[in-house]
Structure formats: structure tokens, C-alpha cells
Symmetry: C2
Subunit: 117 residues, 2 copies
């Protein structure tokens, strides 16, 4: 690679996919809300366990600070596709694991909707 690489597809990838899940916890009465206050913790625990137990070694899983859009939480984002999901139940987590992380298909019903700038 020379000093002006713009075709990033030639760079080897550590993970096929990398999930970031917001761990922000604000008090329940905080006006901004938070993913933690919306019940994120057990969902991310399940997600991490599924990724580990199902042997998805090509999927990275990292907790994150605030991703913004706090009132829409719990929020997670999957890269490189850049898909923001807002799961609320264990079944939602399982569907994201099976459909997106394993099969590479969008779980449209769980995508966070945002307005384009």
C-alpha cells in the first residue's frame, strides 16, 4: 500500500462485523433518558452471550458510551453496514443474531428510524 490509499477494501479486516451497544446509564428520571434506563443491560448481556456461545468469532462486540438518540434506546449499531437497531426484547436480540450477524440480512422491523440531515 502506498501513502495515499483510498481503496480501503485492500486492508485486511479484523472482524466481519463489529457490534457496538450503548451502555449509558442515567437515572430513571433524567430528562434525556438512556439506553440503560430503557432496559439495555440484560439485552446486551444476552447479545454478548449469544455471540460467544454460538462461536461467532468473526463478530466483534464492544460496549460503547452514548450514541445519541437517547430517547430511542436501547440502541446498538452494526458495522460495516452502519445499521442502527433498537431491540427491546430477548427475541429481538436473537433475531438480530440469527438474521443479521449470521445470515447477513437486515432486520428491518428493528431498525432505528432517523431523519436524514
Amino acid at each position: 500500500m502506498d501513502s495515499q490509499v483510498t481503496d480501503f477494501s485492500e486492508v485486511p479486516q479484523l472482524y466481519k462485523r463489529h457490534v457496538f451497544a450503548c451502555h449509558t446509564q442515567r437515572p430513571p428520571t433524567h430528562p434525556r433518558g438512556s439506553c440503560g434506563a430503557a432496559g439495555a443491560q440484560p439485552l446486551w448481556e444476552r447479545l454478548g452471550n449469544r455471540i460467544g456461545n454460538d462461536g461467532l468469532t468473526d463478530v466483534g462486540f464492544t460496549v460503547s458510551g452514548c450514541l445519541g438518540f437517547c430517547s430511542a434506546g436501547p440502541l446498538m449499531v452494526v458495522y460495516p453496514e452502519g445499521i442502527w437497531y433498537r431491540p427491546t426484547t430477548p427475541e429481538d436480540i436473537d433475531e438480530i443474531v440469527e438474521t443479521h450477524l449470521k445470515n447477513g440480512e437486515l432486520v428491518e422491523r428493528l431498525v432505528m428510524v432517523f431523519a436524514r440531515a
Copy 2:
């Protein structure tokens, strides 16, 4: 979009690029090391300030928990390209901002080297 979307390029993107920077802080004597112990905090502060002050509204910036590879820190990763950088000086941060985040070119000298599985 139907229920089996696999071409994610049709999904609108919230950010052009999204930077995650590890904020893990372990004690200096911890055997695993940590990005915090390696001096990450002022680097990420500079990175966040640069992204904000330079008006890079299409770049997301989120702190993260442990990304792994702790002895290689400070570590940050840029998606969707999936490029892991290990900046150690303010000048490194500036180069990543100017070269990658603004111009879309790889800063090869700062890429974390890893062995493929």
C-alpha cells in the same frame, strides 16, 4: 425494502464515518495494560474537539469499552472502513483527522498491525 435485505448500500447512513475510541482505564500496574494507562484520554479529547470544531458533522465520535489488544493502545477504530489506529501524539490525531476523516485516505503508519486468524 423487503424482508430479506442483504444489499445494505440501500440503507441510508446516519454518518459517513463513525469513530470509536477506547476509554478503558486500568491501574498503571495492571498486567493487561489499557488505553487509558497508555495516555488515551488527552488524545480522544483532542479528537473530539477537532471533529466538533472543524464541523465534521458527518463523522460520529463515540467512546467505547475495551476493544481488545490492550497492549497496543491507545486504540481507535474507524467505520465503515474498519481501520484500527493506534495514535500516540496530538500530531497523530491531527493526521488522522485531516487524512482519513476529511480526505478519505489511509494513514498507514498509524494502522494497528494484527495477525489474521
